[in-house]
């Protein structure tokens, strides 16, 4: 089975935020929540790079480990999903996540965060809803993976900076790019998320 990953080729990202918009639209993400965001490092300085970041669907996901009700899990595809029915909004996943992925619909004073929301890799939800059902869509957003499609953010990336798909395949594509153009600022977040970089 494929091990799904994200890879942002920062040397190609132009900070257009189309991935952010695509995600919001495709999944009807609630106000105030951004499942995907673009961050520019060294803004305005030489060597500036923009990186599109969302849930990296980590290996040994720390959010899943710390969840006090064990409502977060990895699917066979390596996608990290959670059940909003079981989530108690404690905020632990949000302390543990290295990528700032878990977010809550409310500010969270007195622990009133509401149910955690994060990138689902466009793979629906981890609850009891039928895969691809309207109930699942309302709670978690699109289930493109069940239709054989990849996450929309990566699919519509204008410079093909953001890659989604089987980890080995996208790593191979990235390696080839680095080899051809002679440089690459690395697969951002891979060491932290998957405990392996891409040797180039």
């Amino acid at each position: 089975m494929a091990r799904m990953k994200f890879l942002c080729d920062a040397d190609r990202c132009i900070d257009c935020n189309a991935c952010v918009t695509a995600c919001k639209n495709e999944n009807e993400v609630p106000w105030g929540i951004n499942r995907r965001r673009v961050i520019t490092i060294n803004d305005g300085k030489p060597g500036e790079r923009s990186v599109s970041m969302a849930c990296m669907h980590c290996t040994d996901a720390p959010c899943a480990a710390v969840c006090p009700v064990s409502c977060i899990f990895s699917t066979d595809d390596g996608v990290v999903l959670h059940s909003k029915d079981l989530c108690i909004g404690c905020g632990y996943c949000f302390y543990a996540c290295p990528f700032g992925a878990p977010q809550y619909p409310k500010l969270g004073n007195f622990g009133s965060r509401g149910k955690m929301d994060k990138c689902t890799y466009c793979a629906g939800g981890g609850g009891t809803e039928v895969s691809g059902s309207i109930e699942e869509y309302r709670k978690y957003g699109a289930n493109r993976l069940a239709q054989g499609k990849l996450p929309l953010c990566a699919e519509m990336c204008s410079t093909k900076s953001l890659l989604a798909g089987d980890g080995e395949i996208i790593a191979e594509i990235y390696k080839e790019r680095v080899l051809k153009r002679g440089y690459g600022s690395g697969a951002w977040g891979w060491m932290t998320a998957y405990k392996e970089g891409i040797a180039s």
């Binding site: 105030g32 490092i41 500036e48 790079r49 970041m53 480990a65 006090p68 064990s70 002679g182």
Partner: protein
């Protein structure tokens, strides 16, 4: 030229050659600045800073943190360190207290009950104590649930029932905390005067609090053991209150990194606090005859007072014979 100065000269020469080589920008074949010139590198950035931050276009500026690997360390603390140390400290204290009961048994009033009662705690003092105590028990149980519940209760209850319980427990924990803080402020205000360490406490400690020699050690209203509990409870209570409030109001002066620290402090202190209070509960109920009534009815037996708080007993007697107005302190 001597040998050392030649070495220095060689070093200066090597630097003069090396520096321009480092500073020189890489150029593309057409002479333009190479697109990867000085490109930021993730591993380099992480060596300089514990997390990578940048600029973000969306209004939520908190999302400008790109990567914070410390999340994995916090995960390790929570799932490995806290689970192990917490279980060892709390179960260890239970075992210790069980052994104490088996070896020392219940500490009896040596002279037996006199039947005469002495007022030890006023109704307000008892209210303050029980406000703190009952909220502590609720906070302790709900706190342990969020750490150990998924190991102990989740397999027994099933995920839906456990999720409901954990949700309820979370709100109990969040709101009962205010009762605990109020109780803590009350007991500290009421008892700080009588808990200031004095000369007699050294003697009490030297005599092992009467546990070792079986002889009662001297003490005022509170003995050195009680004073230790008082100051530990004050310090631990303040630490869990402050760290808890920081977690209760996210992003008021905190960020994810400081919230991780606050959670570590909260969890470690709370585990130690629970162990300490287990010992306090033991000595106040099972461990010693005549101790519980001080917080129950507020009155203790005169012989208990004589044996455990001799100086306070003398003072009390003096107050009663002379009258409260002209009583002199013999603490």
């Amino acid at each position: 030229m001597s040998f050392p100065s030649f070495k220095i000269l060689a070093a200066v020469f090597a630097l003069a050659v090396a520096v321009p080589a480092i500073a020189q920008e890489q150029r593309a074949p057409d002479g333009a600045a190479a697109p990867d010139a000085n490109a930021v590198n993730e591993q380099q950035l992480l060596q300089q800073e514990s997390r990578i931050e940048g600029r973000i276009d969306i209004p939520d500026t908190r999302a400008r943190v790109l990567i914070q690997p410390a999340g994995r360390r916090w995960d390790y603390f929570h799932e490995m360190t806290l689970h192990r140390v917490g279980a060892i400290v709390i179960l260890g204290m239970m075992v210790l207290l069980g052994l104490a009961f088996l070896i020392l048994g219940r500490l009896r009033i040596s002279a037996g009950r006199s039947g005469k009662k002495i007022k030890r705690f006023s109704a307000f003092e008892r209210f303050s104590h029980w406000l703190t105590a009952s909220s502590f028990v609720l906070l302790g149980l709900t706190g342990l649930n969020i750490t150990f519940g998924k190991i102990v209760l989740l397999p027994l209850m099933g995920e839906n029932a456990f999720s409901d319980l954990a949700q309820f427990a979370k709100y109990v924990h969040n709101f009962v905390s205010f009762a605990f803080i109020l109780g803590l402020i009350l007991i500290v205000t009421l008892w700080i005067k009588d808990n200031i360490p004095r000369q007699v406490d050294i003697e009490w400690i030297r005599q092992g609090g009467g546990f070792i020699k079986g002889k009662h050690a001297p003490a005022g209203r509170f003995n050195a053991g009680e004073k230790a509990i008082f100051w530990c409870a004050l310090a631990a209570g303040a630490a869990v209150s402050v760290s808890g409030l920081l977690l209760l109001f996210p992003f008021y002066g905190t960020n994810i990194a400081t919230m991780q620290v606050a959670q570590v402090v909260h969890a470690v202190i709370a585990v130690l606090f629970v162990a300490l209070i287990l010992a306090h509960i033991y000595i106040g109920t099972l461990g010693m005859e005549g101790a519980f009534e001080a917080m129950g009815t507020g009155e203790v037996d005169a012989n208990w007072a004589k044996e455990h708080h001799d100086l306070w007993y003398v003072e009390k007697q003096a107050q009663e014979s002379i009258g409260p107005a002209s009583a002199t302190s013999i603490k």
